[in-house]
């Protein structure tokens, strides 16, 4: 019966295309740039996948929360004072305050959690499934870069407010991969690092503060050629990229070994040693938990999100060029919202996850034949 309905829909579409000329197409209303319509099939599959993950997160003890699509710009700036402002879709509301479509969920979650933490709730395990909006360049469209277009996407994630320590990090990584398995994705790999190690390492070997910022921006963008050129112009004379690559938390002595190559004039700072110890402990705990096979450390991996203070990670699946999940620890973000609590979280990029599933199990977006 379902197949007959699909065939009928296909025939109607064919007949419709023949009846409607190109002049008439031009009269149809435009879809705003970057907004995503979800027709039958796609919309249903996205909702099914979203619900599957949310149910799994609920079974694992997370309560679903929600908030509006706008935030005051001041709220977003509390989270990222040096944020990518050009990516935010902003305007002024009736009261004259600047508002923006939320580009991510973490600042909204921090805003919502702070009053509860302040009133004595020490632990919150929340999940969410919401649309987020970022202004992106459109390189293939002539001159659209001047105004940019907005990209709407769906994030399903968790935030653990009050979760501290390496053990919480390991549990979060386990949750990320168990949710992917629940969603039907058999193969995924996570790359991990620590938000503070690359900056502290570069400072410890004698790179000036201004250059550290430039080098970190290049690491974040993966512009390794430019990184090596810039590093080569410093008093350190390069070798920084390969030094960072040699830092292996599974081999605790690798930090000392790398510093030996820079000579006696430099040594790791106490902050760097403390951050390194966290990562070494994480590696050991991951090995005990059987997570090591699906995860690798790479200290050249850096994210440009200022609020991260510890673990950072991205998860990848075959056939999709960008991460399907991103996350990290942000122990000082709640302070910016009037409370104090460690926190860690991650978000799945749902449309990327759908793409990964499609390639993995032959899923099709054609109406009527999709299955999840």
């Amino acid at each position: 019966m379902a197949i007959a309905r699909v065939e009928w829909n296909v025939w109607m579409a064919v007949i419709g295309r023949r009846l409607i000329g190109i002049e008439q197409w031009m009269e149809f209303a435009d879809k705003p740039l970057g907004m995503q319509d979800g027709y039958a099939g796609f919309a249903k599959q996205r909702r099914v996948l979203e619900s599957t993950i949310v149910r799994h997160l609920e079974r694992e003890g997370h309560e679903l929360v929600s908030c509006g699509a706008f935030e005051y710009v001041e709220t977003l700036l509390r989270a990222r004072p040096v944020g990518p402002l050009e990516q935010w879709v902003q305007w002024v509301d009736a009261s004259g305050r600047a508002v923006a479509l939320r580009p991510e969920m973490t600042p909204s979650i921090a805003r919502m959690a702070a009053p509860l933490v302040s009133s004595g709730q020490r632990s919150l395990r929340w999940s969410y499934a919401e649309r987020v909006y970022r202004r992106v360049a459109a390189p293939t469209a002539s001159l659209q870069f001047a105004s940019g277009s907005v990209r709407e996407s769906t994030q399903v994630g968790v935030e653990w407010i009050g979760g501290s320590g390496v053990l919480a990090d390991v549990r979060l990584l386990e949750l990320c991969h168990s949710a992917l398995r629940e969603a039907g994705l058999a193969q995924a790999h996570t790359v991990l690092s620590h938000a503070r190690i690359a900056p502290l390492f570069l400072a410890a070997v004698g790179i000036s503060q201004g250059l550290v910022a430039q080098l970190l921006a290049l690491l974040h963008a993966g512009k390794y050629v430019d990184f090596e050129e810039l590093a080569g112009s410093t008093p350190v004379h390069g070798g920084l990229l390969s030094a960072l690559r040699k830092l292996r938390p599974e081999q605790p002595r690798s930090l000392e070994d790398v510093f030996v190559t820079f000579g006696k004039r430099v040594s790791p700072s106490s902050d760097l040693v403390a951050a390194w110890s966290e990562l070494v402990e994480l590696a050991a705990r991951m090995r005990e938990s059987g997570l090591s096979a699906d995860m690798t450390f790479d200290l050249t991996f850096h994210r440009d999100v200022a609020y991260y203070t510890g673990l950072i990670f991205e998860t990848f699946a075959p056939g999709v060029g960008v991460p399907i999940a991103l996350g990290g620890r942000y122990d000082h973000l709640l302070q910016q919202f009037g409370a104090e609590a460690p926190a860690v979280g991650f978000a799945f990029e749902l449309e990327q996850l759908m793409e990964a599933k499609g390639m993995a199990i032959g899923w099709s977006t054609r109406a009527g034949v999709a299955s999840c």
């Binding site: 870069f145 963008a221 993966g222 050629v225 999709v320 060029g321 960008v322 991460p323």
Partner: protein, 213 residues
Amino acid sequence: MLTVALAKGRTAEDLVPLWRESLLPCPEDVLSSRALVFEVDWPPGERIRFLLAKPMDVPTYVFYGVADLGVVGKDILLEQERAVYELLNLEVARCRLCVAGRPELAAETPQRVATKYPRLAESYFRRQGQVVDLVELGGSIELAAVIGLTDRIFDLVQTGATLAANGLTVFDEVEQISARLIVNRSSYRLKSTEIATVVEGLTAAVRRRRVHA
């Protein structure tokens, strides 16, 4: 399987000898055949696939993950700003990104500029404090200045012979350009062993060329 997207034309022609010097597998007829997809055995028991694509499309194939690696000019990476990782300067397909025009207009304030690189051109002239009309063209950019459609062109210059043959001259060199090895963020993590082998081979070949230069 590892998939490598190569920018057709001069980039691929300059790259293939370097690729062979790096002792990596390369289809015999990749430059002579009209086919767009080639496969050879590598590493043992597996295959490596080469795609020949329009240069402007190479970062797109890599970004979306249908190609793991790509070889493309830095000019296109600067123009598109795709979120792909840039692993290696291959030091082939060298040229210059230049502003050029008819010599008699050199002292005039630029009004209208023909280019394949609207983002870079807009940024360059804005940095100069100049407001110009940009005319985006797909090829033969010199023609726009020759017939008076624009008073400047913003384009790649290799030897300068085409400019000279059309009575144009370089006013400013904006950037030195060469081919780069790029990879998408996912393949960089998921196929790290194969990609490291490619990078090591090419790095050694580039260094050998530097020594013999």
